[in-house]
């Protein structure tokens, strides 16, 4: 008798141990539904993304030079800061720049565009929802934390250091680009894969632990597939497993499009978008492509 009671007891505590730290799917559903996505600025793009860039996920965005990756990265770093009263997250952004493509004047321009659109959208409200001083370009700029990384060592160090840095609340990490240094200086490709694997699992942990979005911008390379060369995102096949969602930005004729290449929850779909002086926006009828790659 005592033996069976003892066994029952131990199995119960075993079961407890199993459930420790786990979540039921129902709890996750309520959490997911409460989670606000980060708008990209383009409604069509937001729609195929299910509202915008998801928090608690690593999203990889890749494309050829000039397609608008950095523009989208900066736009997200700005849009995450849209105050809660205006439908945003009221958050802060970390921007890790490996290529030096972050132009602060452009960020300023995008912030001005964002603020102007917010005022236009909420014009009908008689009194202002938020104290005007918060909706100043300078306060947006102050909430973008910028790291300029010049080698892969610094890139790894920065990601490691984020563990401590993120103790103060942040909502999005943009890495522009994840590829630049890793394509040049690594001779040992197997080692590169493992180092990248370590980095990606760290970033994945950050999304869960700190409830933020990670956006990795990637470059393209060519791959020989089925008898012809095709464009694909850089860093190889093993890296492509590292991210939760994968979006490819490409030219479709004269228009810029975004295509959801991989996602556990979103359908493969394509949406057009435009890069304007205000930032990433919907396509209007007179957008123009410059005919060069």
């Amino acid at each position: 008798m005592s033996a069976s009671i003892a066994m029952a007891e131990s199995s119960r505590s075993g079961a407890h141990a199993l459930l420790d730290g786990a979540q039921t799917a129902w709890d996750m559903l309520s959490e997911e539904q409460m989670q606000k996505p980060i708008t990209t600025g383009c409604e069509e793009l937001d729609t195929i993304l299910g509202g915008g860039i998801q928090c608690k996920a690593v999203t990889e965005i890749g494309g050829i030079p000039g397609i608008g990756k950095t523009q989208l990265g900066i736009q997200l770093a700005v849009n995450v800061q849209i105050p809660v009263q205006y439908g945003g997250l009221g958050g802060k952004a970390v921007y890790i720049d490996t290529e030096g493509s972050f132009m602060v004047e452009r960020a300023h321009q995008i912030i001005e565009g964002c603020i102007a659109d917010l005022f236009e959208k909420f014009e009908h409200r008689k009194q202002s929802l938020v104290c005007p001083y918060i909706l100043q370009p300078n306060s947006f700029l102050a909430n973008i934390f910028y790291f300029r990384v010049c080698s892969y060592t610094e890139q790894i160090a920065a990601v490691n250091y984020l563990e401590k840095f993120l103790e103060e609340h942040k909502d999005i990490i943009v890495v522009d680009s994840i590829t630049f240094h890793f394509r040049r200086d690594f001779d040992d490709l197997a080692m590169r894969t493992r180092v990248l694997g370590g980095m990606s699992s760290k970033l994945m942990r950050f999304t869960k632990k700190h409830n933020l979005a990670v956006v990795l911008l990637n470059q393209v390379t060519t791959k020989f597939v089925d008898g012809s060369f095709q464009l694909t995102l850089a860093l190889g096949d093993s890296w492509s497993h590292a991210c939760t969602n994968r979006i490819i930005l490409y030219w479709n004729g004269n228009e810029r499009h975004a295509y959801i290449d991989k996602s556990p929850s979103l359908r493969s779909a394509s949406a057009p978008f435009q890069v304007t002086s205000k930032g990433i926006r919907n396509v209007t009828s007179n957008c123009k492509r410059v005919r060069m790659m």
Partner: protein, 311 residues
């Protein structure tokens, strides 16, 4: 940053000794290895490795700055070289930016060299005339620099300066022209540029030097571009000067890669049409293009050239 010595990072001495005993001396050595490899190599447990790596990373990590402080810095240093073309300056929010690589692309004969000559002059001009009052290095790999033309531009654009005594000589004297004959010499010159006080660097048509190596494999060609490319970029950022490079266009080959797998099977015919129309693409390939910050594309529209900006 990556060459910082572990011995100077304030790790507990027992741990620091283990690192140096295994010949892991710099931050780069330590951070290039995955955590598990480090554990095995150093024969220490995971927690110790983690704390050590965290400490090394904190020190090797570049300093964090807010975008606001970047903006304030920009305001102090001026931040750009105005081109005097109103529309272009407006689109560029001031002019050719400091601290970044700007590329001029276009077919031959469209005016890239002329634009470069004008920029060189603008940088040499005294600040009272809107210039940078400084020294310019002009890297001329195709022997396209003609001083007569430079003076001619100067005389017609800034007559009051150039017609006064000795000013033409002083302005032209601020522009240093180099003619590297090989890729190695070019790279050497870049390194030398670090030690000179500069306000603008113009590299006219790099592709000429790479054309010689064209028969080599694609992998090699890309590699040979990288050192100068990344160096130029670092030089621009470190010295906070504008660097302008020119690039040529070349015809698109039939096997040129343009599509992703998900685009592949649709519409072969439209793809061909697109190729015929836009058959000119910038040379030097995709990796170079990824490193350039601003690209100004010169296109001819019914006889007049118009620069379009692709950032």
């Amino acid at each position: 940053m990556s060459n910082k010595l572990i011995s100077q990072m304030g790790l507990p001495s027992s741990l620091a000794n283990v690192f140096s005993a295994r010949n892991i001396l710099t931050a780069k050595d330590a951070l290039s290895l995955p955590e598990f490899d480090l554990m095995a190599l150093l024969d220490v447990d995971r927690d110790q490795v983690r704390t050590a790596v965290a400490r090394i990373s904190e020190i090797a990590c570049p300093p964090c700055r807010t975008a606001l402080s970047l903006m304030e810095d920009r305001a102090l240093t001026g931040g750009y070289l105005p081109t005097r073309l109103l529309g272009l300056d407006r689109a560029l929010r001031g002019g050719i930016p400091f601290g970044a690589l700007t590329e001029l692309v276009g077919p031959s004969g469209i005016g890239k060299t002329q634009f470069c000559l004008k920029l060189a002059l603008l940088a040499a001009l005294p600040s009272s005339y809107g210039g940078l009052n400084g020294r310019v290095i002009y890297m001329d790999t195709e022997s396209k620099f003609h001083s007569t033309r430079l003076i001619e531009i100067g005389r017609s654009s800034f007559p009051h300066i150039f017609n006064s005594e000795g000013m033409a000589q002083e302005m032209a004297g601020r522009i240093i022209v180099l003619r590297p004959a090989s890729l190695d010499e070019l790279t050497e010159r870049y390194v030398q540029m670090l030690f000179v006080l500069l306000n603008l660097a113009i590299v006219n048509f790099m592709y000429g030097l790479h054309r010689e190596n064209e028969r080599s494999t694609t992998g090699q060609k890309q590699h040979s571009c990288h050192l100068p490319l990344s160096f130029l970029k670092s030089l621009a950022e470190f010295s906070q000067i504008p660097i302008v490079v020119t690039n040529q266009v070349r015809s698109q080959n039939n096997y040129e890669v343009v599509h992703y797998p998900f685009q592949g099977n649709t519409d072969r015919t439209s793809c061909m049409l697109e190729k015929l129309e836009s058959h000119l693409i910038a040379s030097l390939g995709i990796q170079w293009a990824h490193a350039v910050t601003i690209r100004l594309i010169f296109e001819a529209h019914s006889g007049q050239y118009t620069p379009q900006i692709l950032v």
